[in-house]
């Protein structure tokens, strides 16, 4: 029984650009200048100038996919982090001990696309000598160590996607948000737009990077590296509808088993934010996990802001016109 991974080795490596519009034909013409040894500075410059404007036939939409991360089974092993770095060949971020529990990763960034968070919640009770009856465990005291593997939320209406002026950020055929590193020019609008602080700009190359939901793997029918590695299957990958159903069942199960706090974060659209294609099962307030309690899509304000902006300008022009007409000889 050969796994999908093993079948792949039989496939030839794709190398041709897909057929399609004229621009793709043009793309073929300049292709040698793009990937092979540059044939001198002028063709290279030409290639660089034309390249972003080449488009092809977009792929057919596929079943939307995503992640469902069940934090209640996370053991904080960070396999997802290393699997991600290994598959994507991301650099290590240097060696800094944070002291924030076992989290030395600290944040998501252009070079860290999975981040396991650790939250120690322990009662402040100390054992006493001799043991006094007052120190009996009380129900209100928590003794737990929460762990959560965080990543890009792949929002359906993604602020980064809306902000991107170059079209580098696309929603691909799997409805995942993908930054095309060959297009991004590092304008940083996506960084400003993301309510979760997922994206940063790399010092190397100056482009924005984030979780691709292993687009390259999905193209070949493989699941993302992190979900594949996750030993306890805290990270689930699959068609988003199935994941939602699975997650809701799990929440019900947890409620039955005495975890009434369990709920899903991001599985459905809210008043101010769309659903996310990477959603989480949590057992405490979102802010405890470093997530916005009520994420807000900035675009909800954009039209109003334009109106006020235009009004502010028009008012000034009106003043100017009035004065000119009144005072002109």
């Amino acid at each position: 029984m050969a796994s999908r991974e093993q079948e792949l080795s039989a496939l030839p490596q794709a190398s041709d650009p897909p057929r399609g519009r004229l621009s793709v034909l043009l793309g073929r013409l300049i292709r040698p200048y793009l990937h092979d040894e540059p044939h001198g500075p002028l063709p290279e410059l030409l290639g660089r100038l034309i390249y972003p404007f080449l488009h092809g036939e977009p792929p057919k939409p596929q079943q939307p996919t995503g992640f469902y991360t069940d934090t209640t089974v996370c053991i904080g092993c960070k396999a997802c982090e290393v699997a991600c770095k290994q598959w994507n060949q991301l650099p290590s971020d240097g060696f800094n001990w944070s002291g924030n529990s076992y989290d030395n990763t600290n944040e998501l960034s252009a070079t860290t696309w999975r981040h396991v968070k650790f939250i120690e919640q322990f009662s402040h009770e100390s054992p006493s000598v001799p043991a006094s009856p007052d120190t009996e465990e009380s129900e209100s005291l928590l003794n737990r160590w929460l762990m959560m593997s965080d990543n890009c939320k792949h929002c359906v209406a993604a602020p980064c996607h809306q902000a991107c002026p170059t079209g580098a950020i696309i929603q691909n055929e799997f409805q995942n948000i993908y930054i095309q590193a060959d297009i991004c020019n590092g304008c940083s609008c996506c960084i400003a737009a993301c309510p979760f602080g997922v994206i940063t700009r790399s010092e190397l190359g100056g482009h924005s990077h984030k979780c691709t939901l292993c687009y390259d793997r999905q193209r070949d029918g493989l699941e993302p590296a992190c979900a594949k590695a996750c030993p306890t299957q805290s990270i689930h990958f699959g068609p988003i509808d199935e994941l939602r159903e699975q997650a809701r069942k799990r929440v019900e199960q947890l409620h039955e088993r005495g975890v009434p706090q369990a709920y899903l974060y991001g599985d459905v659209p809210g008043e101010t934010y769309s659903e996310m294609h990477s959603f989480y099962l949590l057992v405490d307030r979102p802010s405890v996990y470093g997530l916005p309690d009520a994420p807000f899509n900035p675009w909800l304000h954009m039209m109003g802001d334009y109106v006020r902006s235009v009004a502010g300008g028009l008012a000034a022009i009106a003043v100017l016109l009035v004065v000119v007409f009144l005072l002109k000889p």
Partner: protein, 177 residues
Amino acid sequence: MFRFSLGKHPKTSREPFSVETLAKSSRLRGANVTQGICPYCAVGCGQLIFSKGGELIDIEGDPDSPISTGHLCPKGANAYQLSVNSHRVLEVLYRAPYSDQWETKTMEWALEQIAQRVKATRDADFTTRDEQGRLLNSVRSIGSLGGATIDNEENYLIKKLLGGGLGVVSIENQARI
């Protein structure tokens, strides 16, 4: 009417895919794949090792393995970096007595030197019988340590050569049975 809709999905067909994005695929296509076992702990997770042009390009879990069903821990996921690593020593190093530095040597030289050291030490210290006249046939001044991180066959060869061949007694590994 100016309200932006959260439910609006972008249409894939209108997304500005770049040429490279359109051609995107995994690097596993056309790679050679071999089934390996994770070299770290004793769980024995299955690994798939992908190579191209004689170079490692990826190591990930083997979904077929009934033990690990494709999963790996951070160390297992890091196995690639054990092999592809600029810190790896890739030539024979020799430190002379009282020296403060390594010297680079050939493998052949090292094998020859080590064989001579073994012979000299063994010939000097081989004990056929102890003071009480008990048969020992052993060399007590040479030892060997390690085995739980290498292969069974290598363990067997170590035990066979050093123990059965040379008479070395202190052949040990990490395991304390």
